[in-house]
Point group: C2
């Protein structure tokens, strides 16, 4: 599922390995359609998402639910008015590790045409900065076992593969 983003005047530069500067900011409701395209612009996401115009209401409802949950937010990477990356940051309180807060990263995506330009790095570093401000001592994520490149990316940013990520679908009845 390709990501039909508006092209900018210097696409040749963004296709290479050069870093392109982005503005990382909280997502707004009008970004939801672009975020859904990012989620679908992915080997695993293509089969999981619904790209429709206008955006499927289920995504707008989810956005409103997120906005109502304190500590749960979407960040987007914007360049020349286009949303070219996204990341979900959740701040979790808990008792373990002496009441340490932790930040959870989910749904980290960069548009296919802007990969390799350190957009993801800027998103993750901003999320880490916000996690520090929120008093977190740890940032955690799970990466599908098949996403070897993603894991290498996170290792470069100081993440360690210390855990096994386990999931159970509960969409069927018990």
């Amino acid at each position: 599922m390709p990501c039909h983003l508006r092209t900018s005047t210097d696409d040749s530069a963004v296709m290479g390995a050069e870093r392109i500067a982005v503005v990382v900011r909280p997502a707004r409701r009008e970004d939801v359609a672009a975020i859904v395209r990012l989620l679908a612009d992915d080997v695993l996401g293509a089969a999981r998402e619904r790209v429709e115009d206008p955006v499927a209401p289920v995504y707008l409802r989810a956005f409103d639910d997120m906005a109502a949950q304190p500590g749960n937010q979407l960040l987007v990477a914007e360049r020349d008015g286009d949303v070219i990356g996204c990341l979900q940051l959740t701040i979790l309180t808990g008792l373990s590790r002496q009441g340490m807060r932790r930040a959870l990263l989910e749904a980290v995506r960069v548009s296919a045409r802007h990969r390799g330009a350190r957009v993801g790095e800027q998103l993750v570093l901003e999320a880490i900065a916000q996690a520090r401000v929120a008093g977190c001592g740890l940032v955690q994520l799970t990466s599908d076992a098949t996403r070897v490149d993603a894991q290498r990316f996170y290792e470069r940013l100081g993440f360690e593969k210390t855990h096994v990520g386990m999931k159970k679908s509960i969409t069927e009845q018990p």
Copy 2:
């Protein structure tokens, strides 16, 4: 770090592999001391937690923070008035997978003297039931790579090791 729980009259039974029935209920503020003992009663937790009497204020603050975050709660397993197990359940909204909600499990612990009696199973099944009611399509967790027994336990309950869990400590300054 041993867990000094009040003993009951049939300890011989609970030391074996027999299932003991527990009441799984939301944690109350007066359970925090017992929960901290559970968190410390663990190979990895022993070095991470502070067991003090009265309970260290940092844990009570964390409990109050959790109580203030909708969708984030602690469940405990109670038997004869004693808290012998705990689990943190967080319901997360997000855009990916068509706005699917997911449940995150953290801090699943059972007192050393009650392990093998399916207390953890009762906690996890209750968490899954609550996740379904909250509209979740997925339950996820990370397990330290060294916790092989825990992973076998989750596999028996239908969890699959599909992901790599990555963590980055951010307690130091950048």
